[in-house]
């Protein structure tokens, strides 16, 4: 680790990870995007508009909440929840879609496309597109369309066209493929809002920069509330945007441990999981080099998680680098453990977490008891669980 972390390099690399692995037709557009992103992230007028939107439309800052009862119950570290679930649209995703949509507008693009897994990023994109009066097309795997019908309807209400993707495994990775195909075809008027810290450079850096508002606020709030930095951060990792948003402002604070929690599905040892950092190996997919879940021939394998938002065979390249460098630790939580975490938080704090965030909750129940009572953990509560009620009821055999 260098003393001041400043990745990616000018070519979009985090060590051996990241980069721009795209077909030639997209090289021009990502270059154009990179220039706009570098320019507007320095532009006071753009940043003022972004801040105002985050405050008045999203409802930031989100609270940092001391979960005292849950802390007492676990009998170890003091647990603080960063309440991204209280954002407009119910998750951290909107921090990024607001930023990218403002960029799209500045770049004169009239059409927005996005991929979505659980539908949270699709909803957050459709929301900002509606507000800015931009045409919006959301690609979603046919399997996800079936299991997240509520979000599909929400997107339609918001005026977006939802395209069910029938190719490949019909899940998030295929939705991303299809969105890339759309972008290649309609590059002139279209802005592709990627929902996570993956894709070709500049997306991993840009999405991170829009999400770091989480970590900046959390750091300031923690200092104000407790007078010191936290000892550990815990966040779930699918693509990894909520985790990097929390981690990034703390990377140079060596005393702060970072735990990224991947989805182990039925258990990493069963092969039915979504945990590339814990059980995958480096490869190239969707424009960047990162850890992937693939077979010996380099074909991408179908992933599994109860949480559609973590059901992705890759992970942001910056996480790959943080793993290799040892700065962050990546662990995994099974579907069953996540469900227990879901119930724990719901019953003890009156907060219903998203199934994605429940992975972070579940890991905290293992970590907190090993730490002293005066230590502090910040857990990113990346989204709320309303969208998951049907999945949960079905899983637990309850008819609504």
């Amino acid at each position: 680790m260098t003393q001041h972390y400043n990745l990616p390099d000018e070519r979009g690399h985090f060590g051996p990870y990241g980069g721009k692995f795209v077909a030639e037709t997209l090289m021009g557009p990502i270059q154009e995007l990179e220039e706009a992103y570098l320019r507007y992230m320095q532009d006071p007028e753009f940043l003022t508009e972004l801040d105002a939107d985050l405050q008045h439309y999203v409802g930031r800052p989100s609270p940092l909440y001391h979960a005292e009862r849950w802390s007492r119950h676990l009998g170890g570290a003091q647990l603080y929840l960063k309440r991204e679930d209280l954002n407009h649209t119910g998750a951290h995703k909107v921090n990024n879609t607001i930023g990218q949509a403002l960029l799209a507008k500045r770049m004169g693009k009239t059409r927005i496309i996005a991929e979505t897994g659980a539908g949270q990023h699709g909803v957050a994109t459709a929301t900002v597109a509606a507000r800015l009066g931009l045409e919006c097309v959301v690609y979603m795997g046919a399997v996800d369309v079936a299991r997240q019908s509520l979000n599909v309807y929400r997107m339609k209400l918001l005026g977006a066209k939802v395209v069910a993707v029938e190719s490949g495994s019909k899940t998030l990775k295929d939705a991303l493929n299809e969105a890339l195909r759309d972008w290649v075809t309609n590059v002139d008027n279209t802005f592709y809002i990627i929902g996570t810290v993956a894709g070709p450079h500049p997306y991993p850096a840009m999405v991170r920069d829009f999400q770091t508002v989480i970590g900046r606020e959390a750091k300031e709030q923690c200092l104000t509330m407790t007078g010191r930095l936290p000892d550990a951060l815990v966040a779930c990792v699918g693509g990894g945007s909520n985790a990097i948003g929390l981690f990034y402002p703390f990377i140079d604070d060596a005393s702060v441990k970072m735990y990224g929690v991947e989805a182990a599905g039925d258990g990493v040892e069963t092969g039915r999981h979504s945990a590339p950092l814990c059980a995958g190996r480096p490869g190239v997919l969707h424009g960047n080099r990162t850890y992937l879940i693939e077979d010996d021939d380099g074909e991408i394998i179908e992933t599994h998680s109860i949480s559609a938002g973590l059901d992705y065979p890759g992970v942001g390249p910056e996480h790959a680098w943080l793993k290799d460098s040892g700065r962050a630790e990546y662990v995994n939580i099974t579907d069953d453990e996540a469900l227990k975490g879901f119930h724990d938080l719901t019953e003890m704090e009156g907060i219903i977490p998203a199934l994605e965030s429940s992975h972070a909750i579940a890991y905290t129940t293992k970590l907190a008891p090993t730490m002293p009572k005066d230590s502090i953990i910040i857990i990113n509560l990346s989204g709320r669980g309303d969208k998951d009620i049907m999945t949960l009821a079905q899983r637990e055999g309850i008819e609504l």
């Binding site: 070519r11 980069g19 721009k20 692995f21 795209v22 077909a23 030639e24 037709t25 090289m27 021009g28 557009p29 190719s167 490949g168 990775k173 295929d174 493929n177 890339l180 195909r181 290649v184 075809t185 309609n186 590059v187 002139d188 480096p282 490869g283 190239v284 997919l285 969707h286 424009g287 080099r289 992937l292 693939e294 010996d296 021939d297 380099g298 074909e299 991408i300």
Partner: protein, 267 residues
């Protein structure tokens, strides 16, 4: 001189253009591939682009996506594609073969292992859709050291700087993607392609193969006038898709289409 360079030189001397069919290896079945390649050579094609199937073919339209899925259903892999080329070479040590696919199967096999194996089975060129010259230094030198041409794509929105990059990194030929979009899409705009080709020619001496939008004898002929080679992919694969229960029929329809293209291009 590489087999590809020699081929383009020979064509240029006789005033002809290269006919370059694309075939996804292993589609509809691994046994189909090598006999189909020989049949293509008999019709008079000049170079064969052999597609390596990948689970996530981001730059391909539905026709080639499905071809990839069919091949993968038969457990086709990069190693098996290399074996197929070895088998092809037993009867044909003349026709240049170019592998076309995505980076991850090569990354998984290991760059050096791949380059060695490609040299062993006499692959002439490698075109990796998602490997732009910016990321390709390592791979390009491994291939060039072994006499294999790295082939790059140019698109309608590639500027002069990028054309020069491809010229520096690539050899054999440049594949010009004639439209913004995925394989098998849309219609060719001849005037646009003509305009772009002027810019490309001004910045590279490499032969230009033109693909995307070549559907029949007529479009093949039009494209042949513009570039040095005509790449045809989805139009051929459609014949496989239309005759899944009858591969012999697919083969004979592909042969007929290529014959018609060859004749139109040589008129």
């Amino acid at each position: 001189m590489s087999r590809l360079a020699a081929k383009f030189e020979e064509l240029s001397k006789s005033g002809r253009k290269a006919l370059i069919p694309f075939l996804t290896a292993g589609d509809p079945h691994p046994d189909f591939t090598v006999p189909m390649m020989h049949a293509m050579v008999e019709v008079g094609v000049d170079i064969i682009e052999l597609g390596v199937p990948f689970s996530d073919p981001m730059a391909d339209g539905p026709v080639i996506q499905k071809a990839s899925e069919r091949a993968l259903a038969h457990k086709m892999s990069l190693r098996k594609v290399l074996n197929a080329v070895a088998e092809f070479r037993r009867k044909d040590d003349q026709t240049p073969v170019v592998l076309m696919g995505y980076l991850n199967p090569i990354e998984a096999m290991g760059y050096e292992d791949f380059a060695n194996a490609a040299q062993r089975v006499e692959i002439d060129g490698v075109l990796t859709v998602d490997l732009p010259p910016e990321e390709a230094d390592f791979c390009v030198s491994l291939l060039k050291e072994r006499g294999i041409d790295p082939i790059f794509l140019l698109a309608p929105n590639s500027n002069e700087e990028r054309i020069r990059k491809m010229d520096a990194a690539g050899s054999g030929y440049i594949y010009y993607v004639s439209l913004k979009g995925v394989t098998g899409a849309g219609h060719l705009n001849t005037a646009d392609v003509e305009e772009r080709l002027k810019l490309i020619r001004a910045n590279t001496q490499l032969p230009i193969g033109i693909g995307f939008g070549v559907k029949d004898a007529e479009t093949a002929k039009t494209v042949a006038h513009l570039g040095d080679g005509v790449v045809v992919g989805s139009a051929l694969i459609s014949k496989i898709e239309a005759n899944l229960d009858n591969p012999e029929q697919a083969c004979s329809e592909i042969v007929d289409l290529l014959k018609a293209m060859r004749a139109a291009m040589d008129e």
